[in-house]
Assembly symmetry: C2
């Protein structure tokens, strides 16, 4: 009695390109679009013969550094096998903690919330820009449009619908909120991020779907205007913060699978992220 | 200063088979094992040339039906673009809500908690057993060992390290807690699940890593002893509950990517789940 309803459902095909068109359209137009629930055709077949996989996710716990420096994640044992026959936690958090997504709506009023992001944009070819040598000397360093152009001179033009991740080596500090946030005497934080000109380049010249960083913010820590967030997210793109293990995946040739939460109205939230190549 | 530490990290290879050995070992032995953080070799290369992808995840919201019938998920707007410059929610929940994972520790004292499950067991070939025609007549129907054998006669032996999902068509009821839980006058629920003899067969005769259902529980709703949970999870295997769109993926030949949360000490929790083929 239930099966046929599902079996007969129209199989709408939504490609990555059409998603981007939808995501950047007006809020009113986006409101009517059905981005999820339908089987999607991938814009291009995913690279064949994956042989290796890497988890890009930090373990989330109450001591994980937050952007504000305040605790925003809590977990409490609700039931135990010994007492109740089964074990489970009660969890509570502000969405922007741990290895997590910034959905377009995080900075874009009316832009897609996280449940609207389908696999067409959450599964993507991924490239890594290494700035760890610069970051070791200058915690305010940023990935620029020139860095992406330099990557392209070495590896070729960015794939269509790519994700571009920054490896700054910052994750070695993740065990200490003080070292990871790295505030100066005035409280201004210092850690690497994306320069606004990098995301302006990606929006104007390439069709990337997402960016990611191994630090607390898409913008560098000293940013006062969050210009990278403000430029990138409302344009219907996503960001990932606090990524792990970016030195363990190739700079070119991997695919990323972003297990973003599917919370109604969510601005992002903790993700499980894998890379395969 | 940070990069080399990561670059020089030992690349331990943990295959799916070795995970299963670890997961089924004693709690003491498991405690010392490092299953995560290392690049993993897949037990077998993932099927080449994915051309289609399907989201198997329901959108999570406060009205999503819970096993107990009580509300266990809450989301509140914490900040808004208009007032604060950015938007975000505060979220709180008991882990077993929405499309979610049961980690081995959910019923196995000392068995792996969810952050211990790596991509070697969260990325798997997936098969679908269709019982929607039976379920339409009998809400107490269960996937049995015979159903799996019948699937094998048609499609061949289960792949190594497979996930086995039940499609009962129950998701058409998900909009109503009453219809989805389907309690009788005495409060006993009636919906399909896995028969204990199915998971006994998978443990003894095959090396499957996970099972999944489109209902509220791995056990059928009328279960008093949770024997499927008790047999399957403490053996180091995972379960997924409240899956969506299982009629939209092929019975054989797809791979599943389970974006399980990486919460320290977690018993499972809301997941993003994709199938590709």
């Amino acid at each position: 009695m239930c099966g046929p309803v599902v079996m007969d459902a129209v199989r709408t095909e939504v490609t990555r390109r059409s998603f981007l068109r939808l995501a950047t359209a007006s809020a009113a137009a986006v409101g009517g679009a059905q981005l999820l629930g339908a089987t999607q055709a991938l814009a291009a077949p995913v690279t064949p013969h994956f042989r290796r996989v890497q988890d890009l996710t930090h373990t989330l716990k109450p001591t994980f550094p937050s952007f504000s420096g305040q605790p925003v994640f809590k977990s409490d044992v609700a039931v135990t096998v010994k007492k109740d026959g089964f074990y489970g936690l009660n969890i509570s958090y502000f969405e922007h903690i741990g290895t997590h997504m910034d959905a377009p709506a995080h900075f874009g009023d009316g832009a897609p919330t996280v449940e609207r992001l389908g696999p067409g944009v959450l599964i993507a070819p991924v490239v890594v820009i290494h700035v760890h040598e610069r970051a070791a000397q200058d915690p305010d360093t940023r990935v620029t449009a020139d860095d992406i152009r330099a990557w392209e001179r070495r590896y070729g033009r960015l794939p269509r619908g790519a994700a571009v991740f920054m490896h700054s080596g910052w994750e070695s500090r993740v065990g200490s909120s003080q070292a990871f946030r790295n505030p100066d005497a005035s409280g201004t934080m210092h850690f690497p991020g994306f320069h606004p000109n990098a995301v302006e380049f990606l929006l104007a010249e390439r069709d990337a779907v997402g960016i990611g960083v191994d630090t607390l913010s898409l913008d560098f820590g000293a940013s006062k205007d969050f210009k990278t967030h403000v430029t990138w997210l409302p344009a219907g793109r996503w960001g990932l913060e606090n990524l792990a293990n970016l030195a363990r995946i190739p700079p070119s040739g991997a695919w990323v699978f972003v297990g973003a939460p599917k919370v109604a109205g969510g601005s992002g939230g903790p993700c499980r992220v894998f890379a395969m190549w």
